[in-house]
């Protein structure tokens, strides 16, 4: 049996088994990390692209760094237009190059001021990126608390977060993700210097308090929706450090008011009646169940490092996605049938081999997509259709070469034809492959979905043509290939 000596036979069988193993989880109900996910454009759902404010973060970082230099090295500095300017006439010995470097600073070459520093691009980007990762976790926990389980959330670029929620949307999501949730407690202060007036936008109540907060929401450990005389309120508790601060503040200021401020606007300004040592408190003031619950969620997930802006929002209804899939699948099947019929009529037996090659190519493609846990989108489906096209093209190139060799009586027309055609196929497919890889690296959204299936598709097509198609060509006598004319 000559066929058993073909190494390609064994590799083909191996490919088949491996593909089967990897595709199988897609048809099982339990969740698995190696499954093809469907993009929102297919299954319907919501996506939000959130952007953290880079400028605000830069300012925060400048203030923090300047304070750190002051506290650690007793060197005072000013912040001016994105740079830290170290004041003259001080002993700067402590500020060695290594210290500066560790702070991520570098001398601002463009500044006309002396001792002016900016963050090096590299260190700022790193810091920005870390901040975003942190914000990803905060946003995740906020949406989790609302009870959305299948969400996908990832960092995009340096300061963006892509949040995707399949299925129906809880209307509170938008509200909950876009709040910075900076909660601060300020004691009343009637002096103009160092004070600030906060206003409650709904009731118009205002109070003048000291500008620097006495306690911040960073100390909050837990928060929940509770009821006080049937009114929904937000109950919160501080951690140990926060409890101590809160106890100190309340015991020293019995009789005066303090303001609870959320994202710059006053929520309520109660009078301190007695010292509060338990480390817990309540915020009341015209909440509904929903708003109180939302506030509790954002308080316990922590505040976001900067303001967040929804720069892209997409809601795809289930009908559009379903219709898309149904039509897309029907279109692909009809296209596949049309192509295979054409190939069989035109190339006879060889055309039949093309059909087998296409089917193997598709199963290898889906196996790799499952293994890599790829998200399949509609542009991705178009990428797959293109892959089938390239696979057919490879077959045509090979058959035409063999036919030509046969006509010119070239020795060993099958091998010679296959090999010379395969060089051409490699050249043309590799160019497309490299282009697709760069497209994937730089692209966004639909471009990525398209390029990932193209990348995987080209690789599968190259493999199956080299192994499975060649196997069939090898084991079939040229007389039966249907190529001589």
């Amino acid at each position: 049996m000559i066929i058993l000596k073909q190494w390609r036979l064994w590799v083909s069988l191996l490919l088949l088994i491996v593909s089967y193993i990897f595709i199988k989880p897609n048809f099982e109900s339990q969740t698995s990390d190696s499954k093809i996910n469907f993009g929102l454009d297919i299954q319907g759902g919501f996506s939000y692209l959130l952007e953290l404010n880079e400028e605000e973060y830069l300012n925060n970082l400048l203030v923090k760094t300047s304070q750190y230099i002051e506290n650690t090295y007793s060197i005072s500095s000013d912040i001016d237009n994105g740079e830290i300017v170290i004041s003259k006439n001080q002993n700067l010995d402590a500020l060695t190059n290594i210290v500066i470097q560790n702070l991520g600073l570098e001398i601002n070459e463009k500044s006309d001021k002396e001792n002016s520093y900016i963050f090096s691009k590299q260190s700022f980007n790193k810091s920005l990126s870390d901040m975003t990762l942190n914000a990803v976790e905060i946003v995740r926990s906020r949406v989790d608390f609302l009870g959305n389980k299948e969400l996908s959330i990832q960092k995009v670029g340096l300061n963006k977060i892509l949040l995707e929620i399949p299925g129906d949307l809880d209307n509170n999501v938008k509200e909950v993700i876009s709040k910075t949730a900076k909660l601060t407690l300020h004691l009343e202060k009637n002096n103009i210097v160092g004070s600030k007036t906060f206003i409650n936008e709904e009731t118009g109540e205002q109070v003048r308090v000291q500008e620097i907060p006495n306690i911040t929401g960073d100390f909050i450990q837990d928060a929940s929706l509770q009821y006080n005389q049937n009114e929904p309120v937000v109950a919160f508790s501080f951690n140990k450090e926060g409890s101590d601060l809160f106890a100190k503040m309340t015991s020293e200021n019995v009789g005066s008011r303090f303001a609870i401020v959320l994202d710059g606007s006053l929520i309520t300004a109660p009078v301190i009646r007695e010292s509060i040592t338990g480390g817990s408190g309540q915020i009341s003031g015209g909440f509904t169940n929903e708003t109180a619950n939302n506030l509790a969620i954002i308080l316990k997930s922590g505040s976001l490092p900067t303001q967040i802006k929804i720069i892209q929002e997409k809601q795809i209804g289930p009908t559009l996605g379903q219709e898309g899939v149904e039509k897309g699948v029907i279109a692909s099947i009809i296209a596949l049938i049309a192509i295979t019929l054409f190939m069989i009529i035109y190339y006879k037996i060889s055309g039949f081999f093309t059909v087998i090659t296409i089917i193997s190519c598709l199963s290898l493609l889906f196996a790799m997509m499952s293994l890599l846990n790829t998200t399949l989108t509609l542009p991705g489906v178009i990428g797959i259709v293109l892959t089938i096209g390239m696979c057919v093209d490879a077959n045509v190139l090979i058959f035409e070469r063999i036919r030509e060799n046969f006509k010119h009586n070239i020795e060993d027309p099958k091998n010679h034809g296959f090999n010379s055609a395969y060089v051409t196929i490699l050249d043309s497919n590799l160019t497309t492959l490299f282009a697709a890889i760069f497209l994937f690296a730089f692209g966004f959204g639909p471009i990525r979905g398209f390029s990932i299936s193209l990348i995987i598709g080209i690789i599968s097509s190259l493999i199956v043509t080299y192994i499975i198609l060649k196997l069939f060509i090898n084991i079939t006598s040229i007389k039966y290939l249907g190529l001589q004319r």
């Binding site: 809601q315 209804g317 559009l320 192509i339 035109y346 051409t424 050249d427 966004f444």
Partner: protein, 290 residues
């Protein structure tokens, strides 16, 4: 036998005309930029109302935001594009709430993009396009001679550019999906071109008949003609299925691609090898001999 090489001057003329036409069309008609590149709101709705009725209905939107309503070809689906303005996140919710109360209109898709982000997307797409074109050029240059790289890249840019003209002419929306379509065309074009290059290279390195460049060019095309036609045919066959069956908001992509396949077939049959010849590739071959 057809002497493809002798057509090259006429082909240049055709190609030049196409390029000039494209420039004129784009200059006068502009590109129909989608919200991906312009920012703003977009709704896809299903409705049994007419375009006029919908236009009237959406009159409630203040005049400072431009509203564009277009029926998707052969369906009861409309695309409604609303210009970006202040506080889009709140605005989109208001519009959604208003539409939800109308039983005649069903929202299939709603989205908005901030103009700041769409600027980033433009930049991003240009990087993606430019870098992949550069990679193609470098690869062809490494594998072949520079004349091939130059000619291949010219054909590819030519095909993509004329396809953009086609989109402008038929007012097809230019969005991120279309960038993918343009890259498909680029990929198809270079694919076709490389197959011919490979043939020409192997023919010119053949001792017996390497001297007659014109015959070699014609042979390269002739020997690949059947493949070129078969591949274009099967690709168009597959794409036609997509045109008639793709979801309404995706039908335009295969149409643009079909045009790209046609223009790509033209450029690979009539343009690329002519350009290689005119870049004095013969001299390179002769120099290699001596």
């Amino acid at each position: 036998m057809i002497n493809f090489y002798s057509f090259k001057n006429k082909s240049y003329l055709v190609s030049l005309t196409l390029i000039i036409l494209t420039i004129i069309i784009i200059f006068f008609k502009g590109l129909n930029l989608g919200i991906d590149f312009k920012g703003g709101l977009n709704f896809e709705v299903k409705s049994n109302l007419t375009t006029n009725q919908l236009n009237e209905y959406f009159n409630f939107i203040e005049s400072d935001r431009e509203v564009l309503i277009k029926r998707e070809v052969g369906s009861d689906v409309f695309s409604i594009r609303i210009e970006s303005g202040d506080n889009n996140p709140v605005f989109i919710e208001e519009i959604k709430n208003i539409i939800d109360q109308n039983p005649d209109i069903e929202i299939l898709l709603s989205e908005y993009i901030e103009p700041t982000f769409s600027e980033e997307l433009i930049k991003n797409s240009i990087y993606a396009l430019a870098s992949s074109l550069l990679v193609i050029a470098v690869y062809v240059w490494i594998r072949f001679d520079w004349q091939f790289a130059a000619s291949g890249i010219f054909a590819l840019l030519h095909d993509v550019f004329v396809a953009i003209g086609f989109m402008s002419l038929f007012n097809i929306e230019f969005n991120l999906t279309m960038i993918a379509a343009l890259l498909l065309i680029a990929g198809y074009s270079i694919n076709d071109t490389i197959v011919l290059f490979d043939r020409l290279r192997s023919l010119t390195s053949n001792e017996e008949n390497k001297d007659n460049f014109e015959t070699n060019v014609n042979n390269s095309i002739k020997l690949n003609l059947r493949r070129t036609i078969l591949t274009s045919f099967t690709t168009i066959l597959a794409l036609l299925c997509l045109v008639f069956l793709a979801p309404v908001n995706l039908t335009e992509m295969p149409i643009v691609f079909i045009f790209g396949v046609l223009i790509g077939t033209f450029s690979s049959l009539f343009l690329v090898l002519g350009i290689v010849g005119d870049l004095n590739y013969e001299a390179v071959l002769k120099a290699r001999d001596s």
